[in-house]
């Protein structure tokens, strides 16, 4: 019951957030210079041709009517038609979402598997060379630019060692092995920075909980150091780390523009770049809106997780 109230409150907060966001997305795109009708019609088109295109896509309506038309259809799952290739935006996004989700999950797995254990290790060896080394690794991995790391990895593992393909996307159902191989390098690129962030936060949260009175109690019980660290300290340290991890995952769902570009992965990032370049209003609006809704869904999930791992919320 408490959970339902808690979840209901979070959900109720999400609705106005999405609405405000939809207005911003719509307006921002309209404020950009450039005319979609011109972009579609090309150089040769005359004034009448332009008017026809504008009328066809509702671009001649007052701006608030354009917004309500767009929002009304968006609510029933119709995000309009791409100005560039006349495909439905919803179908276009769904196709790319599968790719972006795969990349986001793979990156997150790498980040969690590397970042959290290293953070725990650094905190439990606080003040030793291991702690210093781990902190250096963490800082480096946060600071490395994605495009540079991507190029280095391609050079090392694709060009020289030829372990992984340098670019390209193969759908999972066509060839699962090649598909997975294609995601390795981009996931490492995206996962590295997040691993660094998780490492730092896990370390500081662990240092705090290792100094807590309940950890002294756990040691006084005669528990092994391993159990003290992994059960008593880590469980409490994970509370802030879960929230942070969810935010990072949410960012991944918006698409990784540079990384997708480097590895030619046709996900949200590439779609966004193309959409902006061609003034494809419908695609950009739909993409930003879907990313935002996904982000909100992820934070809702994080709230639920938070509720599960933090019994104080349960009352």
């Amino acid at each position: 019951m408490r959970f339902l109230i808690f979840f209901g409150q979070r959900l109720a907060l999400a609705v106005p957030t999405v609405l405000i966001l939809s207005v911003l997305v719509f307006l921002l795109q309209r404020l950009l210079p450039g005319d979609p009708a011109l972009a579609m019609g090309g150089d040769e088109i005359d004034l009448q041709g332009l008017e026809e295109i504008r009328h066809k896509y509702g671009l001649d309506l007052p701006i608030h009517l354009q917004y309500f038309r767009w929002l009304g259809s968006a609510l029933v799952g119709d995000l309009g038609i791409s100005l560039r290739n006349s495909m439905g935006v919803t179908e276009l996004l769904l196709g790319k979402l599968v790719i972006t989700l795969q990349l986001a999950f793979a990156s997150m797995i790498i980040a969690v598997v590397v970042g959290i254990p290293l953070g725990v290790l650094a905190a439990s060896r606080h003040g030793t060379w291991l702690d210093t080394a781990t902190s250096a690794v963490s800082l480096t991995s946060i600071s490395i630019p994605h495009f540079w790391l991507g190029i280095l990895l391609v050079l090392a593992f694709s060009v020289n060692l030829q372990w992984f393909p340098s670019s390209g996307y193969v759908p999972f159902w066509e060839d699962p092995r090649r598909s997975a191989m294609g995601f390795v390098l981009p996931s490492i690129v995206l996962g590295t920075g997040i691993a660094g962030v998780l490492m730092r936060h896990t370390r500081s949260a662990m240092l705090q909980s290792l100094g807590a009175d309940y950890v002294r109690t756990a040691r006084a019980k005669g528990l092994s150091e391993r159990r003290v660290v992994l059960r008593h300290a880590l469980r409490n340290a994970l509370v802030p780390v879960v929230t942070l991890g969810a935010i990072e995952f949410g960012h991944l769902l918006a698409g990784a523009v540079l990384t997708e570009q480097i590895f030619s992965i046709p996900g949200f990032g590439k779609l966004l770049v193309d959409g902006v370049l061609y003034r494809d209003y419908a695609v950009v609006q739909g993409l930003v809106l879907v990313s935002a809704v996904l982000f909100i869904l992820v934070s809702l999930t994080a709230d639920v997780l938070y509720f599960v791992i933090n019994p104080r919320l349960r009352g």
Binding site: A220, H232, R312
Partner: protein, 343 residues
Amino acid sequence: MDGADGHSLPVMPQAAAAAPLLQVRDLSVSFAGEAGIMPAVRGASFDVPAGGCLGIVGESGSGKSVSSLAIMGLLPPQTARITSGSILFQGRDLLAMSASQVRSLRGSAISMIFQEPMSSLNPAFTIGDQIMEAIQAHERVSRREARDRAIGLLRQVRIPAPERRFSDYPHKLSGGMRQRVMIAIALACEPKLLIADEPTTALDVTVQAQIVELLRDIQQERGTSIMLISHNIGLIAGLADEIVVMYAGGVVERGATARVIGHPEHPYTVGLLGAVPRAEPGDHPLVGIDGAVPDLRHLPPGCVFEPRCPFSAAPCRQDEPALRSLLPGHLAACHMAPLDAVP
């Protein structure tokens, strides 16, 4: 629960006569910090009688908590060093044991409760879980048996509706209840020695009395030896058979409770007794001790209490007094003792 009147206390000569359960000899502990080396305990010696209760009294910084952490093997390894001494538990030196040997005693033969009941339980686990863990850390028992024992322990520390409380998280319990849970955890494996470090300091006065009563019952019913640490000499007087008074890391007076309370032979003990509020009729002005505990990094050359001592004389500023026997079993570290003779 004001035990300043020590004459009504039950005296347990048979407990004091038996071989002590714990013998601390010449224990010295230092902390290395950025400001230099700080001697927190300086050559302390005391015994915990088997089945009896030893009270250690002193201000914050007197070394009483550090001594208890040394016994538990819970001193922070990065900063603390035990520079001398031995801690004999049932005749075996804890300081000579390996870390895993000490760990197997910790929580089973020797257990400890702390000053901060509000933060000493893990907020992420139910109290039942935390008690069962203490049992299962040392004994091979089924989950079901551990659960039954944990509920039994909750009942013994007088937590109402123990079956229901078993699955509660700590945040649902009051401070007094949490301290009872801590005691249940400490008792989980029937310890020989229970170290209680300021167990009532963070609690309301009425709750304090209940916890003290609980500790007394545990000692009498189970024969558990208790090492009770407090800054409150009245609390200690109510439970302890023997008292050790610590000041600036050293033992300044030691003896049977009734004797030390009735005839304190160290000026610091006299000061501590004067600082206890009394509920008896009559005019008892509350007297504090002037000055503050000295900086342990820069101790005075003679007696460490000399700067605050009303009995101070010339030798006190030169030589540090050693503990000496004034009566059989009653020792004080003071050049001027016995104080009755001081004009």
